[in-house]
């Protein structure tokens, strides 16, 4: 962690960056994102298991762009978010300074986007046993049980859009829920509106999601949104035989294979 701090300090002191986005101790035992603009505060920086926020989410925010050049304390998930955003043209990779951190908080430096991709590739996504077992449990339900399960989960949704706000890939200036000509999704936080919202959120992230789980962690009412993303990630890899590495910089729903399955098409 010392090397991370040192590099962050150097970047700030040399005015190469105007802000370092990282993690600090929050209240009540939490860790939280922090924005350090003065190197004397650099000792606030931490990294541990509680640092789950995907900091890539801040890189597309107007408030952050306004500050100047940014350095990010980047966990694996944040790195994935950065690569994805760069591949979707949301910023130029070289315009961001990366303070890569591994699980132990040790500094990783990357000279190029390719190096980041290699690094990500060497660390394939690991789903927790809890995630997998919930996914399998839902899959093994009958259709009616699945319906009841999700209706129950979605019934808690208050449409605060924390899931959207916490997701690095939900960077649209005008989200489809905010469009009312036509009214794509019912704005009401009732069963239909909530179902439509969660369907469209999952579909818009299908093939783009970096599976960081930030959406589910942000949800104030504990809807397991990550399971929806995980399900679609599995379906995409199963049906289209696409690797995680390929997905980082490609969008599988904008390409096709003439031999894609069609056993469901009459």
């Amino acid at each position: 962690m010392d090397r991370v701090k040192q590099k962050a300090r150097d970047l700030l002191d040399s005015n190469k960056v105007q802000v370092v986005i990282g993690y600090e101790e929050g209240t009540d035992g939490t860790a939280r994102p922090v924005f350090i603009m003065d190197s004397k505060n650099i000792d606030k920086l931490i990294f541990n298991d509680r640092c789950y926020h995907n900091l890539a989410v801040y890189l597309t925010k107007v408030e952050v762009e306004k500050i100047g050049r940014v350095a990010v304390e980047a966990s694996l998930n944040t790195l994935k978010g950065i690569v994805k955003l760069a591949s979707e043209g949301q910023f130029v990779f070289e315009d961001i300074d990366i303070l890569g951190v591994n699980r132990n908080g040790e500094l990783y430096e990357f000279a190029s986007l390719d190096e980041v991709i290699d690094y990500i590739d060497q660390h394939p996504v690991e789903y927790s046993p809890e995630e997998i077992s919930l996914l399998r449990k839902i899959e093994s339900m009958t259709r009616e049980e699945r319906w009841e399960y999700w209706q129950e989960e979605f019934s808690r949704c208050i449409r605060c859009y924390a899931c959207r706000a916490a997701c690095p890939n939900c960077y649209c200036d005008a989200c489809i829920v905010d469009i009312n000509q036509p009214q794509w999704i019912s704005p009401t936080p009732d069963a239909l509106g909530n179902l439509e919202w969660h369907i469209i959120r999952a579909m818009h992230l299908a093939g783009r999601c970096v599976n960081c789980g930030a959406c589910a962690k942000a949800c104030p009412v504990d809807i397991p949104l990550n399971i929806l993303n995980l399900k679609l990630a599995e379906e995409i890899s199963k049906n289209f035989g696409i690797s995680e590495e390929f997905l980082l910089t490609n969008y599988p729903l904008a390409i096709y294979d003439p031999n894609d399955k069609e056993n469901f098409i009459k």
């Binding site: 209240t27 922090v34 924005f35 808690r156 449409r159 706000a165 009401t188 104030p220 009412v221």
Partner: protein, 338 residues
Amino acid sequence: MTPQNKLLKKECLPTFVETLVKGGKLLYAPTKENERIEFKLIENFSEIYLDYIQTTKSIKSIVFPPIEKLFEYVADKEHVEIKDVNLNTIPETIVFGAHPCDAASFKVLNAVFTWDCNDEFFLTRKDKTTVIGLSCKNHDDYCFCTSVDLNPGSTEGSDILLTRIENDNYLAEIMTEKGEAVYKLVKNLFEPAPQVDKNAFVTQLPKLFDLNDLRGKLSFEGLSWMQQSLRCLSCGTCAYVCPTCSCFDIQDIGNQTKGKRVRIWDTCALPQFTLHTSGHNPRHFQNERWRQRIMHKFSYEPERLHVYGCVGCGRCSRACPVNINILENLIEISGGNK
């Protein structure tokens, strides 16, 4: 009416609740399911979980539902028929076990909904709602009701306030006529109240800032609004869990021939909230929206409605996905820990 104190023995509590439920009123009370504590519609006393510090969502939705139908319409080529909502259909409701912060929130909501006109939807719901409060035995680091001039045993907003005293019996402070009406339904369960020092049985929560100090320090310009809010993701969680946030949006749901107009919760945290048709947005940046949230609750509402828009429940801080702790920020603004 003159408030009166009674004793409710702990063994009488289940009968108390179930008698009220059988009386035909809807009864909401805190429940615990999968570690989630929320107010829910209750049928049996056993569903209730009273040993809680805070629920995720507040009781606001009972008087100010997230979706409320304002009217229905049916239209043909020449005519539009508007069908008003029959407010008589709004059910009699009891909120059981709400903490004093939640109970006090109705006063804030009332101030908003009676400010320039009387909102009959809110007022009818409020009139039909009886709050049976419960003083707090515990608090956590996010609680700060004492700093906003409430306290864990405050009777503000409660029609009856229960406080757990010796032997887990309850002191019942019957504060209002609505409270008395409930009391009369189950009078036989109550005994005369003993002399107790209620304060000894509620949690002690130190005051961490002074509202007047805070209000004096608030300024539109010149404060570190940006520093405080950079972390903010611009979601609406804080407003939707807040017991006093009362902004709403009006939506028409339906088509040319039939449909309804509803109002649904909205929040100043989302950029679209103030987006003008012209494309201009007076609160384009999040720090502007964060400032609005604080200024509205601690400056504009006291100025115009003579009530502070915060009851110190701490829900926004607990629910915030990036740990924006409003207490931290209020202390910082008001000039440090007192």
